[in-house]
Structure formats: structure tokens, C-alpha cells
């Protein structure tokens, strides 16, 4: 009776491996697409929605929140895509229309974004921007420029007052934000101008710089003049005696068409011109970074105290926020992984069928894997914009290698006698693949999918940098605010999700991998002697 049921189950299992895989993919895609809800499209009659962008440092996020609240107050639906990586991502998103406005600094605009163009007069600058469909506001009233800073005791001990004084101390350890280290108006130019001899130069995240200083790993760093940490960590800003650092006035960059499409919003934004002085900005930065206020609350307080606007502040509960991030993360992982399975398994099959093609396929997918994730995201932005789509595409590309490689290896590992037995039986190539080879390789293929899934959950956290949300958002904010609890709010669920997916696939194994492959050999030799000698003919 039992055996009979088992037998029927196993004869039905012939096409079951394919079916099971297909179900798996379908459910991944379903999870992903269900989790991803596209932004509601604007109706004709409602006011134009305004999307604000900000860079991934506190001041930019506060200004972004301020802009969002202003747009809301002006009657426009508004959305803030906070903490999008760096200048390139924001500028690209502005040009492509994925954001309408973001806070920028005049020096960055002139020396970085429009580097190599003649923008020496305000008219030339406006023309260069207009050619790109962009306008700039006047200064918001404060400057946030780079300054070179040294811990007060060290500055005292070495007698450091001006940047030129650094020249006499070649052994000092320098640590700069990665952006400063690379950009044209950053470290390379500074070193040249001041003929600085230091060779121990390290690049790290701006938010980690202060921790490096506090821990004594660094002697000299670069700060923004409105950073609240300068006072907190007791740093001395060195005088820019050769006048290297340019003017970095805070400005707003917005799309020219916004002025026509949402004049009320633009008018509201421009109320910020000249409205924020440096102490005010540093105070707001400090409130967020040192006192733990939310950017939204700080922005609202400024609007009511500085501009006399009463804005409503809406908070989101911990669980609803966690739920939303989980959905975002699942959306990214589900769709990219599902699509990768659909694409990578056939690629692996192809690679196993033709050695030369196989080398090519494995070579290319391997090469993709070596591209740093942030670089790949940025690379995709010109085509795919920011947010969900480029992230899914990047995660999809990263998911290919483990699946392709394992499919290829699983098929290549099938013993030649088995493959040839299938041929001589008269099975066609397709039937051999479907009925014999894929089921035999199922275990290995599934292991590849499992690897991809776990990597995918991890890599997806980086996607917060290009506005895809998910568990990366609190991690990003936590790093920025030096808030370990906040980092955990992203890191713990991400780890749990990875574990959960792994468990899911382990469960799927029972179902995808044929039973005959899961059995352990039970002393074949014993059974051999036992049965055959006892058989009636012996």
C-alpha cells in the first residue's frame, strides 16, 4: 500500500523537476512583483508631483526634507528620495527627470559637474545650465566648503595653524572621504597646490572619518565647514592660506520645466534663498547628528521658526516601516533572482553543450561579478535611471554567475556512461536534457541558486544608494548618523531574510531533487552477496 503510493508518486516525478523549478521561479517573480508597487501615476487634474533628491549626508537630507515639506505646503504631492549616493547620481537623476530638484553646492557645480566648460560669469553658468534644462537658485545663505582639520591637541603640539604647516610633517596619517580623494577639486589639487609630501593617505566614507579621528587612526582629515562634529570631536580647522578651496555656496538645482509645471512649488523653494545662515545650518546638522532628532522634525522646526510656516509632520511606525522595507527588499530580490534563474539555467545548459561557447559565457558572467556593485549601479543610471529598475538589473547580472556555473558544472559532472546510455536508448537531445541531465544536475543547480539568493540579499542593501529603498536605507542612515541601532534595523532583517531564503531552498530541495539522488547507499555489497546467492537459479 505504502509502496504503491510511493511508486505512483515517483512515476509522476519524471517531469517534476522542471515543474518544481518553474513553480519556484514563478513564485519568486510573484513575490517580487507583488512587493513592488509602482508609484501612482499622476492624474491630469491633480497638481504635478514633485520629487526631491538628496545626497547621502545629513545636511543634504535635511535640506531635501525642507524642500519636500515646502512642496507639500504649496499643494503638490511630494516625495523625497533621500540618501542617493553622490553628485553623479543626483545630477544624472535630475537630467533624466527622476528628481525635480536637489540641494547642491556652487563649487561642485562649477568644478565637478561642469568641469571643462567656461562658466566664469553668472551669465555663462546660467546658459550652460539652461542648455541642459536646469536652473540654479541663488545661495541659500551659507557656505559649506571643505576644510582641513586636525585634532586640537595634535595641532597644538605640532604648531599647526595653516595648511602650509602640514608640509613639515610628512609622516602624518591622512584620511579623506572617498569622494574628496578622487575628485578634481579634492586631494589631488590640494596636494599639488600646497606641495604636500604625505604618502599615508586613506580613502573612507565621510561618516567614518570622524570615528577614525576619534579612535586615533587618523591625524588629518577633511571636514565640511557646517559639520556639527567639528566641535564635538574637538577639531581645529586649518587656514586655507593659499586659497585653494573654492566657494561652496549652498544652492538648489531644479529642472527648468518645473517653473512652468509647478510655479507655486518653485516659488516656495526660492523662499529658502538667503534664508539659512551657516550657524543655523550647523545647528540643524547637530540636532540630527548629535541629538538624534529626525531630519523631518528639524526641517519642520526651521520652516516654522525661520519662515513662519506651519507644516504637518507625519511619522511612520517601526513595524509599518519594517514591513515596507521588507516588501521593497523582497521586490528587488524576488524579481532579479527569478529572472536570473530563467536566464542563467539555459545559459548554463548552452555552456555545457559547447566548450568554446561555455568558456565565453562563463568568462563574461565571471567578469560581471568583478564589477563593484556601486560602479555597476552608476553605470546603469544613464539608461535605466535610479531606483528599482537599475537595481533589479544589476542584481540580476550578479545572480547569473553562481547559477550558470553550477548548471554547467552539474551537467558536466554527469558520468559519460549515463549520458551515452540515454543516447543509445534513442532519447532525443531535448528529452535527454529534460528527463536525465537536468534532474541529475538539479542538486547542483539549486545550490547555485541558493548562493545567488544569499548574495543577492546582501548586495541589494547597497541599492539604497540609488534610491531603491529596502533594508539598505536604515543601514545607510545608521552609518551616516553613527547610529548602531539603526544599522541593526537593516542588517538584522537582511540576515534573517538571507537565512529564510536559504531555508526555503533547502525545503525546495526535497521537492526539486529526485528521491533516487537523496538516498544513501545502504551497503550494496552486502545486499549483493545476500540476494544473488539466494536467488532460485543459484
Amino acid at each position: 500500500m505504502r509502496r504503491d503510493r510511493l511508486r505512483r508518486a515517483s512515476s509522476r516525478r519524471l517531469p517534476a523537476t522542471g515543474l518544481a523549478l518553474a513553480t519556484l521561479v514563478a513564485s519568486l517573480l510573484a513575490i517580487g512583483l507583488a512587493a513592488w508597487s509602482p508609484e501612482p501615476s499622476a492624474e491630469e487634474s491633480t497638481p504635478r508631483p514633485v520629487t526631491v533628491g538628496s545626497k547621502k549626508f545629513t545636511e543634504s537630507v535635511i535640506l531635501g526634507e525642507t524642500l519636500r515639506l515646502l512642496a507639500l505646503d504649496a499643494g503638490h504631492p511630494a516625495r523625497h528620495r533621500a540618501e542617493l549616493g553622490g553628485t553623479r547620481i543626483l545630477w544624472g537623476a535630475l537630467l533624466s527627470g527622476e528628481i525635480d530638484i536637489y540641494p547642491e553646492y556652487s563649487g561642485t557645480l562649477v568644478r565637478e559637474i561642469l568641469a571643462g566648460e567656461d562658466v566664469s560669469s553668472p551669465e555663462l553658468l546660467a546658459a550652460a545650465l539652461a542648455a541642459r534644462g536646469v536652473r540654479a537658485s541663488a545661495s541659500l545663505g551659507f557656505e559649506n566648503t571643505y576644510a582641513i582639520a586636525v585634532p586640537e591637541p595634535l595641532a597644538e603640539q605640532l604648531g599647526l595653524q595653516r595648511i602650509s604647516d602640514l608640509r613639515a610633517h610628512p609622516d602624518l596619517r591622512l584620511g579623506f572621504s572617498s569622494e574628496f580623494l578622487e575628485r578634481a577639486d579634492g586631494w589631488p589639487g590640494l596636494r599639488q597646490r600646497y606641495r604636500l609630501p604625505q604618502t599615508r593617505v586613506q580613502g573612507l566614507d565621510h561618516d567614518l572619518v570622524y570615528r577614525g579621528i576619534a579612535a586615533g587612526h587618523l591625524d588629518v582629515t577633511v571636514v565640511y565647514t557646517t559639520d556639527a562634529e567639528i566641535a564635538r570631536y574637538g577639531l581645529r580647522m586649518l587656514e586655507d592660506d593659499l586659497g585653494y578651496f573654492e566657494d561652496y555656496q549652498a544652492i538648489l538645482l531644479y529642472r527648468a520645466e518645473l517653473a512652468a509645471a509647478a510655479p507655486a512649488a518653485v516659488a516656495a523653494f526660492r523662499r529658502l534663498e538667503g534664508a539659512i545662515d551657516a550657524p543655523t545650518m550647523a545647528g540643524m546638522n547637530g540636532a540630527v547628528k548629535l541629538e538624534g532628532d529626525s531630519e523631518q522634525a528639524v526641517a519642520a522646526r526651521f520652516l516654522s521658526e525661520g519662515l513662519g510656516l506651519a507644516v504637518r509632520v507625519s511619522g511612520q511606525g517601526f513595524w509599518s516601516q519594517l514591513g515596507q522595507r521588507t516588501l521593497e527588499h523582497l521586490g528587488l530580490v524576488g524579481v532579479s533572482l527569478g529572472a536570473a534563474i530563467l536566464f542563467a539555467v539555459p545559459l548554463g545548459v548552452l555552456a555545457a553543450q559547447n566548450a568554446r561557447l561555455g568558456q565565453l559565457i562563463l568568462g563574461i558572467t565571471g567578469m560581471i561579478q568583478t564589477i563593484p556593485s556601486l560602479a555597476l549601479f552608476v553605470f546603469l543610471i544613464p539608461w535605466l535611471g535610479i531606483g528599482w529598475l537599475p537595481t533589479v538589473v544589476a542584481l540580476f547580472l550578479y545572480s547569473l554567475l553562481p547559477i550558470v556555473r553550477n548548471t554547467h558544472a552539474g551537467l558536466m559532472d554527469i558520468p559519460v556512461p549515463i549520458r551515452e546510455s540515454a543516447d543509445v536508448l534513442g532519447l532525443t537531445r531535448g528529452a535527454r536534457l529534460r528527463l536525465i541531465e537536468l534532474p541529475l544536475a538539479a542538486n547542483t543547480i539549486l545550490a547555485g541558486i541558493k548562493t545567488s539568493a544569499v548574495l543577492n540579499v546582501g548586495t541589494a542593501t547597497v541599492a539604497a544608494l540609488i534610491g531603491a529603498g529596502g533594508y539598505g536605507q536604515p543601514i545607510l542612515t545608521g552609518i551616516r548618523l553613527d547610529d548602531t541601532a539603526l544599522i541593526m534595523q537593516g542588517a538584522v532583517p537582511a540576515a534573517l531574510l538571507a537565512l529564510g531564503l536559504q531555508g526555503l531552498f533547502e525545503f525546495a530541495e526535497r521537492w526539486v531533487v529526485p528521491r533516487g539522488l537523496r538516498l544513501q547507499p545502504t551497503g550494496g555489497a552486502r545486499a549483493d552477496a545476500g540476494h544473488d546467492l539466494a536467488s532460485p537459479r543459484a
Binding site: 511508486r7 512515476s11 549515463i418 546510455s421 540515454a422 536525465i436 541529475l440 528521491r515 539522488l517
Partner: protein
């Protein structure tokens, strides 16, 4: 039935077959024998269309074996190799009836044929629901034979079918196989490296050496009148254990 005409086969520079002519007689068992590496398996794989000759031709049932008629030809062949080549992920039932099911045999017809074959090869019916890994080596070879016989082929190709078994089981299966071949009247082309097995099964024995056929004859003739010294040497080498034993005893 099956004929090789001047067949050459090279594996990247080393000749595996250097001009073999061979006629496999209908309803008889032809045994290929010779030292390891002489090309026995290569000849069998040519017959199954797993590889193609560099020169020369393979004829099967009056037609040249080529890509166009390979599949129908294979449905008329049964193939069995040393460790069975069974599919580990399928039950014995599915292993044996896989191709018949692909050819749209009804379930009832499959079951009937399975029962016949299980009876023929002395496999307990209870084993049909098991997986290959749950069977002994001898049982696996019986299943491999069932699979080879399922579609009632005209030609059986066997590459050292009993090579992996221990001597007692091997001895038993030899006798059973021979009885089955005699009963079914199949054309059999079998590879072995064991002269005693060749003599036991073969209506004709083909002795190969370095890719060439040295002698094709009935067992008696091969033993009594070797065509060249190599044949005599080969025969003598295989009799060595007996000679030693007899010498020691007498």
C-alpha cells in the same frame, strides 16, 4: 545485420581502429576480445552511433548508419555496459520503461512487458519501485539487461556486461544470460577481456590487437589453430593460472 567495412577511428592522433572488417551474424553471439586498449569498446560505440568512423562504413539492417537513420536504428538496439549505466534518479520501473513511455506505449502494455522481463531476468517484482542505489550490483545488471530488452531489439550490444561483478555472481549471471540469449534468438555483439567468458558465450570470437582484427573464428578453431603467434600467446596467457595450478598439483 551489422557489418563493419574497413573502419578506421583515430582519437586525436592515436589510432584506435586501423581498418576493421567484421560481419556480425544474425541470431548468434559474436564476442570481441583482446588486450586492454585494442579497440573493442570503440567498435561497439561505432555500432551504437556514439562515435563516427573516420573512414569506412558501418551497416545496420541493410542501411548505412548515419545521422539521418540513427534514431530508428537505436530503437532496434539494446545497449548494456559494465556498471549498468542506470539513471540514478529514476526507479527501476522508470529506468526500464522510459523509452517505451516516450514512444507512447500504454501503461498497461509497459507493465505487462516489465513483468515478462522481470520474470526473464529473475528480478523480484518488488524491486521495480526501488532506485538503482537500493539494488546490488548483480541486480543492477539484471535491470540493465531488462532495459536493453524492453523494446525487443534485434541487436544487443554488451560492453563487458559482467565486468564489475564478483566471481560467484558473475558465474551465475553468465549462465542465465546465455540461456536468455538462446531463448530469444537475439543477435549479440559482446565485449569481454576474459577468454573463458568469450568461449562460453561466443558462436564466433573476434580477437583484436592494436585496432586490427587478428582472427575471427569459432572458439574451437581459435584455440586449436591460431592464425598467428599472437593468438597463441594470448590464449596461453589466459590459461596461465590453470597451468600453474595443474603444474603445482601434478
Amino acid at each position: 545485420m551489422l557489418r563493419f567495412e574497413g573502419v578506421f577511428k583515430d582519437y586525436g592522433g592515436t589510432p584506435a581502429l586501423a581498418g576493421v572488417d567484421l560481419d556480425v551474424a544474425e541470431a548468434q553471439t559474436t564476442v570481441l576480445i583482446g588486450p586492454s586498449g585494442c579497440g573493442k569498446s570503440t567498435l561497439l560505440r561505432l555500432a551504437a552511433g556514439l562515435i563516427r568512423p573516420d573512414r569506412g562504413q558501418v551497416w545496420f539492417e541493410g542501411a548505412r548508419l548515419d545521422a539521418a537513420n540513427l534514431r530508428p536504428a537505436r530503437l532496434r538496439m539494446g545497449y548494456m555496459i559494465q556498471d549498468g549505466g542506470l539513471f540514478p534518479h529514476l526507479t527501476i520501473r522508470s529506468n526500464v520503461s522510459l523509452m517505451a513511455r516516450r514512444l507512447d506505449w500504454t501503461r498497461a502494455r509497459c507493465e505487462q512487458r516489465l513483468a515478462e522481463l522481470a520474470d526473464l531476468v529473475q528480478l523480484p517484482a518488488a524491486m521495480l519501485g526501488r532506485y538503482p542505489i537500493e539494488l546490488s550490483g548483480g541486480q543492477r545488471q539484471r535491470v540493465a539487461l531488462m532495459r536493453a530488452l524492453m523494446l525487443d531489439p534485434d541487436l544487443l550490444l554488451l560492453d563487458e556486461p559482467l565486468g564489475a561483478l564478483d566471481p560467484m555472481i558473475r558465474f551465475e549471471l553468465q549462465r542465465e544470460l546465455k540461456a536468455i540469449f538462446a531463448r530469444l534468438g537475439k543477435t549479440v555483439l559482446m565485449v569481454t577481456h576474459d577468454l573463458a567468458e568469450a568461449v562460453f558465450f561466443g558462436h564466433r570470437i573476434v580477437l583484436l590487437r592494436a585496432g586490427r582484427s587478428v582472427q575471427q573464428a569459432e572458439p574451437r578453431v581459435l584455440l586449436d589453430s591460431p592464425a598467428e603467434p599472437f593468438v597463441a600467446q594470448f590464449v596461453a596467457a589466459q590459461r596461465e593460472p590453470q597451468r600453474v595450478l595443474l603444474g603445482a598439483g601434478g
